[in-house]
């Protein structure tokens, strides 16, 4: 048994928490994997901010349609019941609170739910924000899906973000390779531990005084 979940297992874990019938936007990168693990038969409707509800998986080879792409500008397909709309309607769906859930990647999440995921503030970087700020404040729930630690060994869960913010107090839950955390008025609360990871290890890794919301459970995958 290891102390963490791999990307696919984490995507499956996130997918298991998405209720049937939810309208969901999956951010670029790891969150996209969640689409591959939605329970068969559930009608989770995927929104892509470039103007579509009812997005399906990548097309078969030779069937790429340049007019049918997702927010990551990759080829997708249309499911029965799909709908197209223009950009102002698409972002009205977010900003207007119609989207149930948005799952995003992160550079940092603070214990008050602040999200930093669009810029590391590097002075020579070309800034680009896309729809990240609109997504962060729009959906009813914002889940972050990420490794707990950066490649450099720093915790992505922090007391306060040091990178430029994407949104303030917007994240409600964080799924990491080590554990699931809820953002609560008392800071991060551990919802579930993966593998052999312990609460003390998490406190050491994050440097945060973590509370616990539920009995630590171990998913069958790990």
């Amino acid at each position: 048994m290891t102390d963490r979940l791999d990307r696919d297992a984490l995507a499956r874990r996130v997918a298991a928490d998405i209720p049937d019938g939810a309208y969901v936007n999956l951010g670029i990168g790891a969150p996209t994997l969640v689409a591959d693990h939605l329970p068969p038969g559930s009608e989770v409707i995927l929104h892509t901010e470039n103007g579509m509800l009812g997005m399906g998986p990548a097309p078969a080879p030779g069937h790429v349609d340049p007019d049918l792409i997702n927010a990551g500008k990759l080829a997708v397909t249309e499911l029965p019941g799909a709908a197209y709309f223009h950009h102002a309607d698409s972002f009205g769906m977010m900003r207007g609170g119609h989207l149930d859930l948005c799952i995003l990647g992160a550079f940092q999440v603070s214990q008050t739910g602040d999200l930093a995921n669009w810029s590391t503030g590097a002075p020579d970087a070309i800034p680009a924000v896309g729809g990240a700020m609109d997504l962060a404040i729009g959906a009813k729930d914002v889940y972050v899906m990420t490794d707990l630690m950066t490649k450099g060994g720093e915790s992505k869960l922090v007391a306060a973000c040091t990178y430029p913010l994407t949104g303030v107090g917007c994240v409600t839950r964080v799924y990491t390779d080590r554990a699931v955390f809820d953002v609560t008025p008392e800071g991060f609360a551990v919802r579930e531990l993966f593998g052999t990871t312990t609460l003390d290890e998490l406190r050491e890794l994050t440097g945060l005084a973590l509370t616990v919301v539920v009995e630590a459970a171990t998913p069958e995958e790990s």
């Binding site: 102002a88 800034p127 700020m133």
Partner: protein, 258 residues
């Protein structure tokens, strides 16, 4: 009699002056009016302000307009792509100005211009670096930022079909910014695959009513359609696939990111 049809691309972009603000539809390559942009390059206007979600990819369309040195300023949400080398170079060399706008605010600012809204309060970007310098206002306990409309002299957009009144239908996610940009410019120019007889577009399915459109020009069918039906056989750039239909590049060449 109303006839917004123009004979060719040169006529479609006629009158675009140096220093004009030009909205360019599209999200990445989907819906980007490449033929109109090529005509704009040929027409010679420079010092342009471009309003578009991205700042071009590869060497065609918007990317080529920037490469040719015609752009003074870009208003967009996501200029950086894996293949945005022309924008990247011009930006790093200080040859163009960038106004970075969150995508939803960009869309709503364009919509507001077309709908006659003076300005509006948006919750997006509160507490971020992009809120700096903007008026903040608390409404019912939530903080918003004052956002102003974005208008343009010209909008260049791409649709699937139009009639001579300028009614337009789009195709799939190539719709994106087209319908709102069409409302926000003094002169709206739409390139379409074909111009169909008046009355042949289903009135229930028209997305952009002709009142918003000034010129329409036919550019011929996109490669991946035959008689209006999808036939595939292209990559994400719309280029024909080599004989190997299982080429993984076919599904992953669009330049990534947003």
């Amino acid at each position: 009699m109303i006839d917004k049809t123009v004979a060719d691309l040169r006529e479609a972009v006629a009158g675009i002056r140096d220093g004009a603000t030009v909205m360019v539809g599209g999200f990445g390559r989907a819906g980007q009016p490449v033929e109109l942009i090529d005509a704009l390059i040929d027409a010679g206007a420079s010092e342009l302000t471009i309003v578009s979600n991205n700042a071009g990819g590869g060497d065609v369309g918007l990317a080529r307009l920037i490469a040719e040195g015609r752009v003074r300023k870009v208003v967009c949400s996501f200029p950086r792509q894996s293949d945005s080398w022309h924008f990247d170079r011009a930006y790093r060399e200080g040859r163009l100005e960038l106004e970075l706008v969150p995508q939803g605010n960009l869309a709503e600012r364009i919509r507001a211009a077309g709908a006659g809204i003076g300005a509006f309060y948006s919750p997006t970007a509160v507490g971020t670096p992009l809120a700096e310098g903007k008026e903040h206002r608390e409404i019912d306990g939530r903080t918003y930022l004052l956002e102003h409309p974005i208008r343009a002299d010209v909008a260049l957009i791409s649709g699937l079909r139009a009639d001579r009144w300028g009614n337009v239908v789009y195709r799939r996610t190539a719709r994106n910014f087209g319908p709102i940009m069409a409302t926000a410019a003094t002169t709206t120019v739409v390139q379409v695959d074909e111009i169909v007889p008046l009355g042949s577009l289903d009135p229930e399915a028209i997305v952009t009513p002709g009142i918003f459109v000034d010129r329409v020009v036919a550019v011929g069918n996109r490669r991946w359609l035959r008689d209006g039906e999808f036939v595939g056989g292209v990559d994400l750039q719309g280029e024909p696939l080599a004989e190997r239909l299982d080429d993984p590049a076919a599904t992953s060449t669009a330049g990534g990111d947003r």
